[in-house]
Symmetry: D2
Subunit: 138 residues, 4 copies
């Protein structure tokens, strides 16, 4: 699937994310993916504050991560996130590469659905606000 809009962020793995094998613990990767997702959501003008103002939260219903190479201390990575679905769930795909070598570290994807704040019902058709934010890229 091709992203209609994408953005990138860079991060440098820190000591506190490493495990005794001297690599970033596998369960810490969602924090890196978040940086890419935040970048693309800011680009379309729909960050956390704007979500809340719009009256919707967007809980995760799925996350999938495929690890290609370990992340290492002081080896900066670039996280790219792109929006690939938006009509029902908001689906984002991710790629993390090591900056110095360009080698792939991870491919991942996530899906979120809208929930009207104050309720718990998941909306299986995305509310119009998402489409409006994406209009310039459609």
């Amino acid at each position: 699937m091709k992203a209609i809009v994408s953005a990138s962020a860079e991060a440098t793995p820190q000591f506190y994310d490493l495990d005794p094998m001297n690599i970033v613990w596998h369960g810490n990767y969602p924090k890196y993916l978040e940086l890419g997702r935040v970048a693309v959501m800011k680009k379309i003008g729909y960050n956390y504050e704007e979500m809340i103002e719009s009256g919707y939260a967007w809980p995760f219903i799925e996350m999938r991560m495929r690890y290609a190479r370990p992340m290492k201390l002081d080896h900066p990575v670039k996280i790219t996130a792109g929006i690939v679905e938006w009509e029902n769930a908001l689906r984002i795909t991710y790629s993390i590469v090591e900056v110095a070598t360009g080698e792939r570290v991870m491919r991942a994807s996530s899906s979120q659905v809208a929930v009207k704040i104050g309720t718990t019902e998941m909306l299986w058709v995305a509310p119009p606000i998402l489409q409006e934010k994406l209009a310039p890229y459609l």
Copy 2:
């Protein structure tokens, strides 16, 4: 796929795992899955120390999480992990349920492959030690 051996652990979500939506942040779930995996790996006699003694590390190549319901402060959950593949990758499936209601919180799976400690080459056939540990359950 049916697990040949499984085990469970309980945990209570803490304040520091919550996000501003007052639910456990989606990226913190791998810490809960870890408790289930640790339980089943201890049961077969192959915990972190025993892995290192065996000369192998088991980095993750994939993790998939499907979120069914949010986890909430002080609502204990039970994590069950079961080994479903072992000939090539070590594949584990997980289920998290809320203890009080029995409602499902998450289904997940992970895959790890062996790497001889001191090298970086992934072994696409699992070393004999894993089969030996699983022998009583085969």
Copy 3:
């Protein structure tokens, strides 16, 4: 200073809290202290939910930790927290010991002050609710 009320919790250090030196990363200790504080706050009937119902948040103004010994994987610890001041700030002292040996791992203390929810002004005299909760122990 002597605690007027105290309570304990146990925890087992997990792999994801370890750093490359194979010990719990120093910055992860506040999560262990939290377990002790939660235990004593529950005992007096003033947990997170009850704080919010009372109309007050209790942000931290100070935390001090003295590390005596490393925490290690699978070596359970017992965290004891006791309330030592309550008239102005809420001050709690902590002790962490290794369960198997009784050896001290950490001594710590924290101070929190009340803030009326919806405002940002710190109250340098604790609101009556705290004294009421502590009445049975005074």
Copy 4:
């Protein structure tokens, strides 16, 4: 005490560091302090890798944090760390300020002592390597 050498780093608080009060959880501040400490240790040429090469680990014996203001999502902060003692323990002081306003967020300090890797004995006189690294600043 005056620092003989100091350095700074910037960071932007992320969603996953926030708690239900919508501010960075108090126990996550050590991760921010780490960024400042890493900056000053790199400046003197004694980062994590160089520590290990020198044969010493530097476990923490004390950390003290005084919180002045909450850290908030998307409000970048600047962390400055300076070395103030080195003859026995390595003592570092920290200051965190909000970039946009210059307002103080935290003052903190930490102390670490050398341990020869492979032993557990704390050295109460710092090994010569630290003094060598600091020579240009003395």
